[in-house]
């Protein structure tokens, strides 16, 4: 493999894994509670900013990130118990609007405390140097750690869902809520815990990406729609689907951005490659979502 291919593969993998962290919570919340939560992106933003807060307090990223995740989990549980619980069983229009209202509230809350500008998270010093993978190719060691953490989280999550009692409750709730409840599953508790879990995964993504993209008010809005694409492609409620969907979108987007400019330059010299290539890459992901919704609305990875 050429260095270009390795680099793009790693970039695609990283984007895909981060999307997975967002989509996993989103798909569980949708699959089990039947809730469209637009404000899931706000939890990602809160996760990033909570990590910033703990970073300022402790000065150590390795401590700040877990603290940020725990705090975001508590915040998620609190949100579920106070507000989102009241939206289960309501029309999807009501859910869309209430969680849209939550986005507006969250953004202004962040603006109040941190201002409208981007806040940079410092990269841990130990990981700030690129790592030489081959003689001619080096890659950001921080991004490699992000990839490793993403893979590790995916494995842990799959063990949690498939091998533990809590995971069994989640699967039972996702496939048949009423029966699970009748069999003695405390579904209210499961809902709260699932929501907290989703918030923690969001915070992990927000905190990890902070040193790469910085954290900013409104950072959830663009990525949450991409997470919805993943959820739809994978099948609402399917963790496995979210994983493969996220990796697919990660690669589609990365490859589109890296390969399309040269294609456009050679074949369509009239078009502006710099602006058109990322746009086409983005449009391709939404075209994929539309195709799935028309031909296989239950998603590509869900048997139902």
């Amino acid at each position: 493999m050429s260095t270009f291919a390795i680099e793009q593969t790693l970039n695609g993998l990283q984007l895909g894994l981060m999307l997975f962290l967002l989509a996993a919570g989103l798909t569980l919340v949708f699959g089990i509670m039947d809730l469209i939560n637009l404000a899931h992106g706000s939890l990602y933003m809160f996760g990033g900013f909570l990590t910033v807060v703990f970073m300022r307090l402790t000065g150590n990223f390795a401590i700040a990130l877990p603290l940020g995740i725990v705090a975001a989990g508590l915040l998620g549980a609190l949100l579920e118990m106070t507000l989102l619980r009241r939206l289960y069983g309501r029309s999807h229009l009501s859910q869309v609007l209430a969680t849209f209202g939550l986005i507006l509230v969250s953004n202004d809350a962040i603006r109040f405390f941190f201002g409208p500008g981007a806040v940079m998270l410092d990269m841990p010093a130990a990981l700030s140097q690129p790592l030489a993978l081959t003689d001619h190719f080096s890659y950001s060691s921080y991004r490699l750690v992000v990839i490793a953490v993403g893979i590790l989280t995916a494995i842990l999550l799959s063990l949690l869902i498939n091998r533990t009692r809590f995971g069994m409750w989640i699967r039972a709730g996702a496939s048949d809520r009423e029966t699970a409840q009748a069999m003695g599953v405390n579904i209210r508790l499961v809902f709260t815990l699932v929501f907290a879990l989703g918030a923690m995964l969001c915070a992990l993504a927000g905190g990890l990406l902070g040193p790469i993209f910085s954290v900013q008010m409104g950072m959830g809005e663009s990525i949450i729609i991409l997470a919805f694409v993943v959820v739809v492609i994978g099948g609402m409620g399917s963790i496995k689907g979210a994983f493969f969907g996220a990796i697919a979108i990660g690669f589609l987007d990365t490859l589109g951005r890296s390969l399309l400019p040269s294609v456009i330059r050679t074949h369509f010299p009239d078009l502006s490659a710099d602006t058109m290539a990322p746009a086409i890459a983005a449009m391709l992901t939404y075209a994929l979502m539309i195709a799935v919704l028309i031909w296989r609305p239950q998603g590509l990875f869900k048997t139902a």
């Binding site: 939206l87 609007l97 139902a304």
Partner: protein
């Protein structure tokens, strides 16, 4: 299709208001209110310039533009039961169509291409065609999948325009001037433009009310209440929904064309998915499925934005809290409150209030 959905979801989001008998389009009270509102709107620029507050003429124009687009969305959500989460696409394409017309007129084509008589209908046709293409595919899906697919189409349109350098990409495009209109009307004057927008807003409200009251509209409401029954009695459900989608798209395009003229600028922000959310928000605050729901919602939210943002920059916080409250309280917006008030005043509350209670529950439960 609907029955197959796995979860026990409540029926389509919104029930339309009960048609109050076959007597004409509007009751006498409604005619009085509409004419009073029109008279106030006609007098507004005179009052504003007398009080040296000409700034508010442009603000009121913006409100009316949003009245048009939210009312077109109401046709979809309120009367056809189609929760479109991509309505900003038609709004934005209308705006870009005016931008494209002015580009063409500045280039090789004659100047009349950018006149209001050509550019504005062009905007409506462009948005209607987009709605036709999107609707043809999106209407094959139901419920949450419909919300998602309209969202996806909206995003595609957004990225399409972001990618087009001739339309300014991220920066949007500035128009050299407002469209020309002839007839001695100079749209560069804010007051003249205000009256043109007022005329178009009134025409839109009247036309869409006629659509809702027509045989087409009644069938449409029947479809949103019980699609399989309408299908069983031989109504071509898909075609009806598609026609509704195209009409709503066309009027959103008109509003977009007016917005581009109002600002002399087209921003890709108008295509952002949050814009679709804002339009839905205005609709639900105003009253889904009420004839004037779009009017109340656009007026209230834009006025609130103006008032709150003059005191604090955190106006979205208050709007968000209000929106959550509206949804949680199970209220169907201002229109339902006004209806209740009117029926209380008339001491005829029993039938009307009961009907509208059912609607409010249908909309939010």
């Amino acid at each position: 299709m609907t029955e197959k959905t796995a979860h026990a979801m409540p029926q389509a989001a919104v029930l339309p208001p009960v048609v109050p008998g076959p007597t004409g389009m509007l009751s006498r009270l409604q005619w009085t209110a509409a004419l009073l509102a029109l008279a106030a709107a006609i007098a507004f620029p005179i009052a504003a310039s007398t009080l040296d507050q000409a700034f508010y003429i442009g603000f009121a124009t913006r409100i009316m533009i949003y009245v048009i687009v939210v009312t077109s969305l109401n046709l979809l959500v309120g009367y056809a039961g189609l929760v479109s989460f991509g309505h900003a696409a038609y709004f934005g394409v209308g705006a870009y169509a005016v931008g494209a017309a002015s580009l063409l007129a500045a280039g090789t084509l004659p100047a009349w291409v950018s006149s209001a008589w050509v550019a504005w209908p062009f905007a409506m046709v462009a948005s209607a065609l987009l709605a036709l293409a999107v609707g043809a595919l999106a209407l094959r899906t139901r419920q949450v999948y419909f919300i998602m697919i309209t969202l996806a189409f909206g995003q595609m349109v957004y990225y399409l325009f972001i990618g087009m350098k001739s339309f300014g990409s991220d920066n949007g495009m500035s128009l050299a001037s407002r469209s020309s209109m002839g007839l001695g009307l100079d749209l560069a004057s804010d007051t003249t433009f205000y009256y043109v927008v007022l005329a178009l807003t009134a025409a839109t409200l009247l036309l869409l009310t006629m659509v809702v009251r027509s045989r087409f509209g009644v069938v449409m409401q029947g479809i949103s209440e019980n699609e399989s029954r309408m299908s069983a009695i031989g109504v071509p459900v898909y075609r009806y929904k598609l026609a509704c989608f195209v009409i709503a798209g066309a009027f959103a395009g008109l509003a977009g064309a007016l917005l581009a003229n109002q600002n002399a600028y087209v921003s890709p922000r108008v295509l952002d998915w949050t814009q679709s959310g804002i339009l839905l928000m205005m609709l639900i605050v105003g009253g889904v499925g009420y004839r004037c729901g779009g009017v109340y919602g656009a007026v209230l939210l834009l006025v609130l934005e103006e008032v709150i943002s003059s005191h604090t920059e955190y106006w979205q916080f208050f709007v968000g809290v209000g929106l959550i409250a509206v949804v949680l309280l199970g209220n169907n917006g201002i229109a339902s409150l006004l209806d209740k008030l009117v029926s209380l005043l008339r001491r005829r509350k029993a039938p009307v209030a009961a009907n509208h209670k059912a609607i409010a529950e249908g909309a939010t439960s």
